[in-house]
């Protein structure tokens, strides 16, 4: 049925404006995860992106005290305001990922965290009272790739495969000022080939939109994936006198916002200016719905999830405990066995004594009978 055109305006066209007012008053909430080995500029990037110190840089004083080999999940919350619009920002960092000699299963805490947020939202949604939902579902995950110039590492591939099916995954090339333009171009091409060959799902968005300018911009953003980034919160002066955010080398200044130097501007466009809503919606409508569907196929409403704890540190502890347990069981069994031997020996000894007594009694009885038999004929 085709919609009927209303003749003189009755005010339906004002609905978007009303909606805008409601949305503007409520603000929004955005959760961004940064994942990658340490030393790739994740903290600096976050601070550069939001032009404010969301996360303070690391201090090195206590680095000699750390002895555990864990991957942690660190949540940093901030509230940003621009022109009276509020955004509750949550940044999830993953310190410890990829930093150890053995990184087997180090992605488990990260994957579990993402799934847990979907789970938590689902459970809250199933409660009788559901007006105050705390929603920490991850809207976007930036995976930081080390600028080796070769290809993706096996660890990168393993993690990205698992992330891509659960969250909007955007690969970025960290510290891109290490690579010359030709090297960078080759590296990007290699990464895209590997992503395609390994079936890693990265974030994509609809390219076509209403106006030409947007379509062109969307296409140029998509073409730049994976985004090469340089992060810096410091102001430096370039050779031609401009003051910009950048990094000052002995041989020149690498600028953050210069599109010839890196793709920072494009990524910021994508994350904040144009596609933040799409990131939020696709998380809610696609990733969350996938999760909900797979869970509900096997579980009833209200039933809690079967949890398996898989942090690698705990695996080692589990192994150690198991070994101790088996050892103790073995010792106890040995103890019982020798005790049993002793009891059997004791029993045999007592049985022998009993037999000896029995035969003694029999002998006495026989003697008695013999004596009685000998006695009675004499009486006659």
């Amino acid at each position: 049925m085709a919609p009927t055109q209303v003749g003189t305006g009755i005010g339906i066209a004002n609905l978007p404006n009303q909606r805008h007012k409601i949305v503007a008053k409520n603000g929004s909430n955005f959760t961004l995860m940064v994942c990658g080995e340490s030393g790739l500029g994740k903290t600096t990037f976050i601070n550069t992106l939001f032009t404010t110190t969301i996360k303070t840089p690391r201090t090195y004083k206590r680095r000699f005290n750390k002895t555990e080999k864990t991957v942690e999940i660190e949540i940093i919350r901030a509230e940003l305001e621009e022109k009276q619009f509020n955004v509750k920002l949550s940044v999830i960092d993953t310190p410890g990922f990829g930093d150890y000699t053995n990184n087997r299963d180090s992605w488990m805490p990260i994957i579990d965290f993402i799934d847990d947020q979907h789970e938590s939202y689902m459970r809250q949604d199933q409660q009788p009272k559901r007006n105050e939902l705390s929603d920490m579902r991850v809207h976007c995950c930036l995976y930081f790739i080390r600028p080796t110039g070769h290809t993706l590492k096996p660890l990168d591939i393993e993690v990205m495969k698992r992330l891509g099916t659960r969250v909007n995954l955007i690969p970025v090339i960290a510290k891109a000022d290490t690579m010359t333009p030709t090297d960078l171009h080759k590296f990007k091409k290699r990464i895209l080939e590997v992503i395609a060959a390994q079936n890693i799902q990265c974030y994509t968005f609809p390219l076509d939109s209403d106006d030409e300018a947007s379509t062109k911009r969307n296409m140029s953003i998509m073409a730049a994936m994976p985004f090469s980034i340089i992060g810096s919160t410091e102001d430096v002066v370039t050779a031609d006198g401009r003051t910009v955010k950048g990094r000052q080398y002995s041989w020149g200044v690498a600028e953050v916002e210069n599109e010839d130097h890196c793709d920072f501007k494009k990524l910021r466009q994508l994350l904040i200016r144009t596609h933040m809503l799409d990131l939020i919606h696709s998380t809610e409508e696609s990733h969350y719905e996938n999760y909900r569907r797979t869970q509900m196929e096997t579980r009833k409403i209200g039933e809690p999830k079967v949890k398996t704890v898989t942090n690698p540190k705990w695996k080692e502890e589990e192994e150690a405990l198991r070994k101790r347990f088996t050892e103790q069981v073995r010792l106890e069994e040995n103890r019982f066995r020798s005790w049993e031997q002793q009891l059997i020996a004791e029993r045999d000894r007592l049985n022998k004594d009993l037999e000896a007594e029995h035969s003694h009694i029999k002998a006495l009885e026989a003697e008695l009978e013999a004596m009685q038999a000998g006695l009675s004929p004499k009486r006659k």
């Binding site: 000699t101 080796t148 096996p154 660890l155 393993e158 010359t180 290699r190």
Partner: protein, 294 residues
Amino acid sequence: MAHRIGRRKNVKKGFQFTLMVVGASGLGRTTFINTLCDADVVPKRESDEPDMAHVEEGIKIKPYTVELDEDGVKISLTVVDTPGFGDMIDNEYCFQEILGYLERQYDDILSEESRIKRNPRFRDNRVHALLYFITPTGHSLREIDIELMKRLSPRINVIPVIGKADTFTPGELADFKKRVMEDIEHHNIPIYNFPYDPEEDDEETIEENSELRSLLPFALIGCEEEIMVNGRKVRGRQYPWGIVEVDNTQHCDFAKLRFALLSSHLQDLKEITHDYLYENYRTEKLSRTAEMSE
């Protein structure tokens, strides 16, 4: 001073030197070797199939020999490359591979020495120095860096270097070097730190060695191509914001390291390998065999 006199005697015969380079891929190891020898010694890494990128290949040990001419002195340089180090998900196995290779060379010498009739043309494959490429994270040493240097320093002279040092601004580089040296001291890792005796050696030697010691870990940049800068041809990397020159000591420590390895400290590294590291290994091994046969 003694090593300088020795040099004059051996100039005509030439020297033999073996260097091992260890580091994760993508740190400029191969490029460094080619830059050091000023030739295409190690071929460029072949592109693997994208659908095989998830396969963990494990570490390989590859020696390459090249003849160099340093100011009229002939040097037969063997470079041992170790591709695959640190690239797997679980890297515990890598250390043993490298250690095994080093100890096999010592074993060869040991058995050759013990022969009744020794071969005069026996080739000494002992490795005299190991350049360990530290990942330029900007923070401090990683677990794998500490483990490797700790395990290998009893058998070989370990010299830590920073690969792809053009990641750092001058301030960041100084901070990183400081933290790395703090870590090395904290974990008691006995690296080769250009030793000198303040009482025995002459002023020139002391100054030279202190300077090299203060540059540790050496910041390296590698480049095989030549580009034009102000009308001269230099080896360098061209960025949109400037050009980094490999041979410029303001930009990196490559030139100083090269001179130390191939000229000034070549003899010292060989002597320490033979008189100290090899002797320790020999003692340990022979006492172990003696214990076992009791």
